[in-house]
Amino acid sequence: MAQMTMIQAITDAMRNELKNDESVLVFGEDVGQNGGVFRATEGLQKEFGEDRVFDTPLAESGIGGLACGLSVTGFRPVMEVQFFGFIFETFDAVAAQMARMRYRSGGVYNSPVTIRGPFGGGVKTPELHADSLEGLMAQTPGIKVVIPATPYDAKGLLISAIRDNDPVVFLEHMKLYRSFREEVPEEEYTIELGKADVKREGKDITIITYGAMVHSSLKAAEELEKDGIDAEVIDLRTVSPIDVDTIIESVEKTNRAIVVQEAQKQAGIAANVVAEISDRAILSLEAPVLRVTAPDTVFPFGAAEDTWLPSYKDIVEKSKQVIEF
């Protein structure tokens, strides 16, 4: 097995699928010769040719339309949105076109597009680069939204996303791209979309999270352990649809939960998790389910990021509030 960063695992997944299936095409702005602004497609054009891995004109709506059109003629486009804040430009193609393809055609056409995009705070990008827009996507019926937290998960989930016959939005947290390495098999493997992963087992409280906050939550769990609190950390991995069964099973065991997301409080995913817990396991709860989130402002300008983003300390504090309720 090789030690890989998350970005290497992502490249590896695309390489695997380009090799595996002639209908897979990788395209977007700067993904060819340049290998992507983050080098996610590094070397792929050289290996598979300009026919399979190619640059597009700089126009996100055009990229989405191209992907949508290709998908109904039998291709599996893997389109890159250079920074996910640019999704607004192509939101029609994704939400109003691909996401509805199967519905609109009564099951005749599908749209097997993977929409990759980097996002996430802590790297001080300019405006509209880092925004956590997964809530917006997750509120759109017809698309799956996947957010890996580790290199291993990233590879298995991306291969599944590319093979999925429905559109999948695959969000890559910029801060996780190169922050650490882990063992990733060189051979192919898949991780089922829609399945959460228990990243740490515990019995006192369930911390439900995804993306970069998985790591903050794991760190918080270590801190909590010093105070004798045994936290379970669930990584949703797919934020739409969410894996209700894994969440409920855990909450029924720990009787307490918090939900952690980097996105603003009003931004959807955490609220949905809280509602599902309330629907299905309210009698197991010893305390209200609280949320750790960013405030309900626009994503902040760079200099304010560190305080704006939720930290492991916020998670520790909120967990203790729930424990002491």
Binding site: A59, G62, V72, G74, D92, Q97, R102, Y103, S105, G106
Partner: protein
């Protein structure tokens, strides 16, 4: 606005291409397409049929027997002529008004009625009929056409993708992005803008400072042409040529057809008298595509009143049958729709499916 010499020069290059004048006389013999007498009659048959169908559809809509409907009278030459130039395997990406083209491309009429009524059966394109569902969002089909055309080229199908929008659609960013992508990737796409003069109520002069929509092709580096959209032979000839251009690897084409819709934008309450005059209507009715083509055919002894009446009767009969068939389509259930959302039902939809099965069983 005073236009620079350079701009005037570019705009002057976009002259309206015509074969038949308003009196049905051939004014451009060299451009006459190679169509047999039978094919010429077929063009007229389809225009007459479509005019009757449009009248019936409007009436059915008023009776509450049809749903969403966008009238097509006035645009028959533009619609029928362009579709007639296609191969059966070419792809059509229609806008909401482009129902005649997709029906002549193989979508059964009763299915078109189902689409109008908001029944999923309307979107279930039959096997081998390469048609996308009529697009509601203005311009979305333009960018998709670049993708479909790229797919057809990659698969070496020897076919093209054609798409339709109106003059208002040419104001959309997606219109430019789609043409630009198709040009940059040199794919076999044909973009038809049916300039029927009004985007609901806003006249084309208020859409753009450009004298023609055809000239917008210049910015994308592709071929653009303006055609008399009331002249079915001109529309047919230019579409045929555009199709071949794409197949020969010479890139996409933008075709602007100058046409007019006699009726309202849609049957959902639009009143054209609020934004156009009866003089304007009269002026365009003089250019009527059916009148002009009838005169042309009569001059060749290819048409008679008797023949036309038979088509009118046939159209009425077919529409009655199609409506009957649409009426007998299975009632649309929410559980069907839940089933169409994803290839496999995720947990949330599985639960909702059970809830709606229960609800629908009561």
């Amino acid at each position: 606005m005073e236009k620079t010499k350079e701009l005037q020069q570019i705009e002057s290059q976009f002259e309206t291409f015509q074969i038949l004048n308003e009196n049905g006389e051939v004014v451009n013999e060299d451009a006459m397409p190679d169509l047999s007498d039978e094919e010429l009659k077929e063009l007229m048959t389809r225009m007459v049929y479509t005019r009757i169908w449009d009248q019936r559809a409007i009436s059915l809509n008023r009776q509450g027997r049809l749903g969403f409907y966008a009238p097509v009278a006035g645009q028959e030459a533009s619609m029928i002529g362009s579709q007639f130039a296609l191969d059966k395997k070419d792809w059509i990406l229609p806008g909401y008004r482009d129902i005649p083209q997709i029906v002549y491309h193989g979508v059964p009429m009763d299915q078109a009625f189902l689409w109008s009524r908001g029944h999923y059966g309307g979107g279930q394109m039959p096997e081998g009929v390469n048609v996308m569902m009529p697009q509601i969002i203005i311009g979305a089909q333009i960018t998709q056409t670049a993708g479909v055309a790229m797919g057809l080229k990659r698969n070496d199908t020897g076919t093209i993708a054609i798409t339709y929008t109106g003059d208002g659609g040419a104001s959309q960013g997606d219109f430019y992005e789609g043409m630009n992508f198709a040009g940059a990737f040199n794919v076999p796409a044909v973009f038809v803008v049916q300039n029927n003069r009004f985007a609901i109520s806003v006249p084309v002069e208020k859409q753009s400072a450009a004298k023609t929509i055809a000239q917008k092709a210049v910015a994308a580096g592709i071929h653009g042409v303006q055609v008399d959209g009331m002249d079915i032979l001109a529309v047919y000839a230019m579409t045929k040529e555009a199709r071949q251009r794409g197949l020969d690897g010479n890139g996409p084409t933008l075709i602007e057809t100058l046409t007019y819709r006699y009726g309202p934008h849609t049957m959902a309450g639009d009143d054209p008298t609020r934004y156009r005059t009866s003089d304007e209507d009269d002026e365009w009715e003089k250019k009527d595509p059916l009148v002009r083509f009838r005169k042309f055919l009569e001059s060749k002894d290819l048409w008679s009143e008797d023949e036309e009446n038979k088509i009118v009767d046939q159209a009425k009969e077919d529409i009655k049958e199609a409506i009957k068939k649409a009426d007998s389509a299975p009632k649309q259930k929410v559980t069907d729709l839940i089933g169409f959302m994803n290839e496999e039902l995720p947990q949330n939809l599985k639960e909702q499916m059970e809830q709606y099965k229960e609800k629908e069983s009561k």
